[in-house]
């Protein structure tokens, strides 16, 4: 089963206004030969960009991040900034129990 099929089993509520995992400097990636982020990420958020000549060499599909927090520790150039998504956004796990497939209720305001 490839990773995209695995991720289809999960629910995501992506935040269109805030990208919680980012590459700080695309130029550093251009000179990076380790590209450890591509191997490490369990949800294939980091992808090699075949148009790397003209565009940033590593794409960040942050909407499918499962928030393990590991990437920020592995980049040899300290080039990944990670924080958790804003309240209520992001992935949700339910241990395969379908009763947790609840409709989303927007976060309450103070």
């Amino acid at each position: 089963m490839n990773v995209d099929c695995k991720l289809k089993l999960l629910e995501f509520l992506p935040d269109g206004e805030f990208q919680h995992v980012r590459i700080l400097d695309a130029e550093l990636c251009r000179k990076c030969d380790a590209v450890l982020c591509l191997t490490l990420c369990p949800s294939a958020v980091f992808r090699w960009n075949y148009q790397h000549e003209t565009e940033p060499p590593v794409l960040v599909y942050y909407r499918q991040c499962i928030e393990c927090g590991a990437c920020r520790l592995i980049c040899p150039k300290n080039n990944i900034e990670f924080c958790y998504p804003n309240g209520g956004f992001g992935v949700t796990f339910k241990d395969g129990i379908s009763v947790y497939l609840r409709p989303y209720t927007p976060p309450e305001m103070p």
Partner: protein
């Protein structure tokens, strides 16, 4: 009381707007705020609320357990002492009466199993539980005791007045602050809050393991048949060697009522080195000839990944600070893969310290230090201290699990296989075979250091 803090904030920022709101609407001050409604945070909230404290439990996910996955089982004795006869309330999955270790290579497996129906008598030994059920049960207990819980609330930083923690900031969409006398950090492994506040160092990629998991649905009878279990009983199998592709790490199988969880994990630093992605590690293990029959015709219902602190005793940060305490995974309180009970006990101890501090109206480290004391005297720290050298040792001997799984299986193979040579010659042959994999001197050295570590 936040005046000084706000005085330092530039005018015209969103902070100022919040500050105005804070002073005009007289925001309520809690006795304690807990960031993270995991086993650590929810247990702390429960015991504090029971002491009559006004507690606010903040969780970034939309329901308990929404943000964590993998495993899992709990140790009955540890939980029973905090929540007597918890099995009457908690919806557990199976009573574990079968524990096994498989030492694996591509082709072989040495399987060491212990099973006993004595393990399934009250007060029981271990239960398999689904995370969401465990977290939900604990959070419900906390709210029933009087704690306030807010979901979808992401704590983005701890607020200070001088060096005294006095509140928390909630990120968007709420974009607000809450204030309290005591702030408890229970935000789990890789604690961003503690790091940002300068209460702990950034965790090392060697001290944190990344586990990928898959939940595979199967009918209850099929699980019982494949693992030869009495009805309602469950098995936990630890898998060593093959699953972690040449590095130290572990894999496990947990049986639930109508599904099983397969987990594989190794240090974050090693995954990058191994050159194999976490999802491929899982697939590789699922395709192993001895695992495949166990999950045949099963339907994968969930995939996930999560980190667990494995640095042990030496990676534990300072736990008590003016106005704040760090508990659970955020404090690296994990022994092997057991984290739930340590998290719950640390929450319990922190609650006692908090309650004492409230009685004396002193929220400096003076009374909060009781948390550290209770923890030090308990099984939590004593076990962690006893296992302290393990984490470092596994780093120093990175080939241990892989190489010795091979050696053990090679030996087992030749012992099992019948040859047409005399017994004595066979022994000599096996010795030659094994020492060709690792020189005898090196092997004795590793064995000696291993014994020193586990003694």
């Amino acid at each position: 009381m936040l005046k000084d803090w706000f005085a330092g904030v530039k005018k015209g920022t969103s902070q100022e707007i919040i500050a105005e709101k804070y002073y005009t609407t007289a925001v309520k001050k809690y006795d304690a705020i807990i960031a993270g409604a995991g086993p650590a945070g929810a247990t702390a909230a429960y015991f504090m609320a029971r002491e009559g404290m006004d507690v606010l439990l903040l969780e970034r996910g939309p329901y308990p357990g929404a943000k964590t996955c993998g495993g899992s089982s709990i140790i009955a004795e540890h939980v029973h002492k905090l929540f007597p006869n918890f099995w009457e309330e908690l919806e557990y999955e199976r009573l574990i009466s079968h524990q096994a270790y498989w030492i694996m290579t591509e082709d072989d497996a040495i399987q060491i199993a212990y099973r006993s129906t004595r393990l399934s008598d009250a007060p029981y030994n271990r239960f398999s539980v689904r995370r969401v059920k465990l977290y939900e049960w604990l959070v419900k207990k906390a709210t029933a005791a009087g704690a306030t819980v807010r979901f979808n609330h992401h704590v983005s930083e701890i607020l200070y007045e001088g060096n005294q923690a006095v509140g928390v900031r909630i990120s968007k969409p709420q974009d607000c602050i809450y204030v309290a006398n005591i702030i408890i950090l229970a935000d789990g492994a890789n604690s961003l809050l503690a790091e940002k506040a300068g209460l702990s160092r950034r965790v090392s990629a060697h001290d944190l393991s990344l586990y990928a998991k898959e939940t595979i649905a199967l009918p209850a009878e099929v699980i019982e048949e494949r693992f030869s279990l009495p009805a309602g009983h469950g098995a936990i199998i630890g898998l060593i060697g093959y699953p972690t592709a040449g590095f130290n790490g572990t894999a496990s199988i947990h049986t639930f009522r109508t599904s099983i969880n397969i987990n594989v994990g190794l240090a974050v630093a090693d995954i990058a080195q191994a050159g194999i992605t976490p999802h491929d590690l899982i697939d590789r293990l699922k395709a192993h000839q001895y695992i495949k029959p166990l999950i045949k015709d099963g339907i994968t219902t969930e995939y996930g990944a999560n980190v667990i602190p494995e640095g042990g005793y030496f990676s534990i940060p300072e736990l008590v600070h003016p106005g704040s305490m760090i508990i659970g995974d955020a404090a690296s309180l994990v022994n092997g893969v057991h984290g739930f009970s340590l998290a719950m006990w640390s929450g319990f101890f922190a609650a006692q310290a908090a309650s004492k501090a409230k009685k004396h109206r002193d929220f400096s480290v003076k009374f909060l230090r009781l948390y550290q004391q209770l923890l030090d005297e308990s099984f939590v720290m004593q076990d962690l201290r006893a296992n302290a050298p393990q984490a470092k040792w596994l780093r120093d001997v990175p080939y241990f699990f892989d190489l010795y799984s091979r050696v053990a299986n090679e030996a087992a193979y030749h012992i099992t296989k019948v040859y047409t040579i005399p017994k004595k010659a066979k022994r000599h042959y096996i010795f030659k075979k094994i020492t060709s994999m690792q020189p005898i001197g090196k092997m004795l050295k590793d064995a000696w250091s291993f014994l020193k570590v586990i003694r």
